[in-house]
Amino acid sequence: MNVPADRKYRNSHEWAKLEGEVVTVGITDYAQHELGDVVYVELPEVGREVEAGEAVAVVESVKTASDIYAPVSGEVVEVNGALEESPERVNEDPYGEGWLFKIRPKDPSEYEGLLDPDAYLKVLEEEG
């Protein structure tokens, strides 16, 4: 399973990548594979203040609808509007064009506390 080394993870299968002052958030390759074909993505409002662990987006596939949790607390500064027309990007390129939203974190140490790639791989092993 593809787990890039350049970012952090949550055990609920979101990835987070810190670039400059902003954390980009998406779902992992494993998550998109488990969900199946994504048909709709509900994104948060830009400007919304979110808490780490709060459900802020919904990814809906042919199988199920799944809450997406904010990996860090802060303000939503941008969302991937292209997903409205092309939700399949979440399946095709989960770590790139399929990103969901960006957060300006309140507390940088929260990011450091997320799972590193090895720890996330262990989560995947446990889920079988």
């Binding site: 074909d37 048909v39 709709y40 809906e60 042919v62 199988k63 199920t64 939700p87 399949e88």
Partner: protein, 485 residues
């Protein structure tokens, strides 16, 4: 994009031939429709109905019906839906009431009111509740009614502003969080424990003065009876939290144990599932809501009451949440439920529940012998959740079942089981049917493991093959338009 050319079976509109007709509507004669209905309600041009002769209509719908899978033609083990066979005599009972009009004087409809009164009494006895409304039109509507009653109760006690949270287990029917959210509450999910039952400790930690209600199904969607239910309802009541019982799975326990005795304050029932109305095509259903005495003042109006020997419609509930449905609910479904309860009696209802559990356990044992896995394998009741043998997908096996002439089970639910196949055989199926189903599913799995390409290609014998689910979701075509437009 229009793909009508791909369709082998035309719509009735596409069978239309200009000038063709089956009947000649009678002339209105001397009646002046404008004077009678008002000018604004009279059509200026005739409706665009398909122009077809009677024989074409008969053939069209007969051929369509032959493309259906239903309980009249096939085993239909759709988990959490209770697709039992509904005796035809109940249709005959419902037909006795078709000449009633909802606007007629209740004094001239005493038989209908008596039936509603008696049905509510039976349902109160079955659920252990003190008062019952028959108004909600189906299960999710019943849920909304029940949660609005709970909200009205908290508001009346001055706690509406702080009790803003509804707790829902992660194995819940999707309608539970949807209901709570629609009623204006914040939904919090409570995890299931390793045994598949609600994690009581995690739930207790969530309780507090901010919680309005807990919504539970028992047995839960894994088919497991929540054995710690009394401990759980007691803890909730100590925190002032109301207990909501989702009656979708009542078929497993009717006559044996009552939600009211488990400590629940509100119950909704799905009469169309448990009490025998054909369903699955979108209704009509019926979702009566029963409550304990402290919630009775908030029920929808009107309620049927007995005054002396007369039955009346009581509108005098000042704290009522109001009406939730026009007239008196889906009355035809109420008649069927009444007749079904009278037909079976308490002993028969208990026996139906017991047989639904026996059938489900037998089928579970058969499938386990075929290599299917059951992740929360406790003493399951009327349904169970299986997983295909390693490497196979629930969706593919569901499609293969169509070729074998069976309706597939519910798949990919509950969400806590990967590749879930949720199977509810019901009490009305014969042992041989369960065996044939297990054989067919086992055979599909065996062939699928040997030849994945074959399984991915199923179904081969149905009028339509694999549907494009992604396009159906992303670009649904909800309205037919004529070629010319």
């Amino acid at each position: 994009m229009d793909r009508r050319e791909d369709r082998a079976f035309p719509l009735i509109f596409e069978r239309s031939q200009k000038g063709r007709r089956g009947v000649r509507p009678p002339s209105v004669g001397d009646v002046d429709p404008e004077a009678l209905f008002g000018r604004e309600n009279v059509r200026e041009s005739p409706p665009r109905l398909p122009e077809v002769d009677e024989l074409s209509v008969v053939r069209h719908y007969t051929l369509l019906s032959r493309r259906q899978i239903g309980v009249d033609t096939s085993f239909y083990p759709l988990g959490s839906c209770t697709m039992k066979y509904n005796p035809r005599v109940l249709e005959a009972a419902a037909a006795r009431f078709t000449a009633l009009h909802p606007y007629q004087d209740p004094e001239t409809a005493q038989g209908a009111l008596e039936l509603m009164y008696e049905l509510a009494e039976y349902l109160k006895a079955i659920t252990g509740m003190d008062e019952m409304t028959l108004q909600p039109a189906a299960g999710a509507h019943g849920e909304l009614t029940g949660i609005l009653v709970i909200r009205a109760y908290h508001e009346d006690r001055g706690e509406g502003d702080r009790r803003r949270v509804v707790l829902v287990p992660d194995s819940a029917h999707g309608s539970n969080p949807a209901t709570a959210s629609m009623a204006g509450f914040e939904v919090r999910e409570v995890p299931s424990g390793p045994d598949g039952e609600v994690d009581t400790e995690a739930l207790k930690r969530e309780l507090g003065p901010h919680v309005a209600a807990i919504m539970l199904t028992n047995p839960n969607t894994l088919g497991l009876f929540e054995k710690r239910i009394l401990e759980l309802t007691e803890a909730a009541h100590q925190a002032g939290v109301q207990l909501y019982y989702d009656g979708a799975n009542l078929n497993a326990i009717m006559g044996w144990v009552r939600p009211g005795d488990m400590g629940f304050d509100v119950v909704h029932l799905n009469l169309h599932k448990t009490f025998a109305t054909p369903h699955g095509g979108g209704g009509p259903g019926s979702g009566p809501v029963g409550v304990k005495a402290h919630l009775a003042p908030y029920l929808p109006v009107p309620l049927v009451r007995k005054r002396g020997s007369a039955y009346v419609l009581d509108e005098d509930l000042p704290k009522s949440i109001g009406r939730v449905r026009s007239f008196y609910g889906n009355f035809g479904v109420l008649v069927r439920a009444y007749a079904y309860i009278r037909l079976l009696g308490l002993f028969g209802l208990k026996r139906a529940a017991a047989l639904s559990v026996l059938n489900a356990r037998y089928l579970k044992a058969l499938l386990k012998a075929k290599g299917f896995r059951v992740p929360y394998d406790g003493p399951t009741m009327h349904e169970f959740v299986a997983q295909p043998p390693e490497g196979l997908r629930a969706l593919d096996l569901a499609k293969a079942l169509l070729d074998a002439g069976f309706h597939p089970p519910t798949i990919y639910f509950p969400l806590i089981v990967k590749e879930a196949m949720m199977i509810e055989p019901t009490e009305t199926e014969a042992k041989e049917t369960l065996e044939r189903f297990a054989e067919a599913l086992g055979e599909a799995a065996r062939k699928g493991l040997a030849n994945p390409g074959w399984l991915e290609g199923t179904p081969y014998t149905t009028p339509v093959r694999r549907l494009d689910e992604v396009r159906a979701n992303r670009r649904p075509v909800l309205r037919w338009t004529p070629e010319a437009e």
